[in-house]
């Protein structure tokens, strides 16, 4: 199966840095920000965006969490799927600006589930979406606010995001 690397380690680092700058820009600063990573790779991305925000803005107060969406999926055909912990920062999400973070945006169904999960936990002032790769083929009216890389793909291809802590190295490859 031919593999094509579309983002290497430095591309990913640059994308994370750029997303961080864009988050600060649209939010006019880091006030009230809550970053929630969607397992599994969204969690590591959220951690890295959090680190990067702290480097850029000395006044940044970290509110980092994890949002598990297993119980909210509409395609939970695999009941063996492991339920992971949801960790919401102690200050909560009410009236905050929540940035949902995932690795790949595809059909939009994961994000739909995440929005449902979020609404059961509280009422954010705003919800934004950051993804490392947007590969198109949306099935729902959902669009990202921050994108690392737009990657036009065919539905037959597979996009694999690998991240240093989860997979040992940083890269995004397309399997054809």
């Amino acid at each position: 199966m031919p593999l094509r690397t579309v983002l290497d380690s430095s591309d990913i680092s640059r994308a994370i840095k750029r997303i961080s700058h864009e988050i600060l820009e649209t939010n006019s600063g880091s006030e009230d920000l809550v970053l929630l990573g969607i397992p599994t790779r969204g969690v590591e991305l959220a951690e890295r965006i959090d680190t990067s925000l702290a480097e850029i803005d000395p006044g940044y107060v970290s509110n980092l969490g994890v949002l598990d969406i297993t119980m909210y999926r509409d395609d939970s055909l695999d009941a063996e799927r492991e339920i992971r912990p949801t960790q919401i920062p102690t200050s909560g999400i009410d009236d905050k600006v929540v940035v949902l973070i995932d690795d790949v945006l595809y059909s939009g169904r994961t994000v739909r589930s995440a929005l449902d999960a979020l609404i059961d936990i509280g009422r954010p002032r705003q919800v934004k979406l950051a993804v490392l790769v947007d590969r198109g083929h949306r099935e729902l009216p959902i669009r990202p606010d921050f994108v690392g890389k737009n990657l036009p793909t065919s539905a037959a291809e597979r996009v694999n995001v690998m991240l240093a802590n989860t997979d040992g190295s940083d890269q995004v490859v397309i399997e054809q």
């Binding site: 119980m71 055909l77 009941a79 063996e80 912990p85 936990i121």
Partner: protein
Amino acid sequence: MKHLTSIRELDTGSAIAILDNADELGAVNSREVKKLPALRGKTVVNLFYENSTRTRISFEIAAKRLSADVINFAAATSSVSKGESLKDTAQTLEALGADAIVIRHPMSGAAQTLATKGWISGSVVNAGDGSHEHPTQALLDALTIRQIKKSGDDLAGIKVLIVGDIQHSRVARSNVLLLSLLGAEVTLAGPETLLPKTFAAMGCKISHSFEEALAEKPDVVMMLRVQRERMQGTFFPSEREYAAKWSLSGERFKMLGNQTIILHPGPMNRGFEISNEAADDPRSAVLTQVRNGLSVRMAVLYKLMAGEG
């Protein structure tokens, strides 16, 4: 996995996976919105041929937390009292669209019969069949021990003493199977009449003296209810004599270690198999068991029902 009628259907990995999921699902109970949409549109029927309060309510709340519709069916107030057979009742529920049947029945093997006869296409959860098994009770006990002892994934090396009316206890059978599967060392203690030697074949130690068993310093002491409703004949001379030898009270209660967990599946007969002193002690985890019962039943219903859409 489609049915849960016996702990024998689980292996170590799947048992741990249920406990892990139950741990995560427990968090929902402390949220403001205590509901998850995972089983939306599914119907769970509680089919209870025996009286039960806590197990039925626990299954009912568990199913509702997962957004399933719940129908409670108590045999005493239904056509069963007019003589309807289990088969006809099950097929009626099937025709009405039940996706899962949670069954409690006085006959050992009833849940398995329901699961294997092909009368229904949904899932079957055993909520206690005669003196055979009560798998979700064992799972909630294992979860409680794991949480309090912080023993990691399994229960390796933890010494559990189960005391009382072993012979009539489905809780004891399911617990022996599950706790051993998870690596715990299980000892059963009870009078000869209520603890047949055949239990040794299940791979646990047997003792006919509560004091001797306590001298082994168990990490967990699980007291069982004396099931008078299942006793035909005399198994002990009098309640007073049973309590004098087998109640967790007085000197025996003082023999417990500082960190020993006291468990009881409920309902407790205070003053009979357990003293007030023991039941209300900080080491008693009876209410933690009830809370974990809810999480475990959510995890089991989710495991059996999600994904057949």
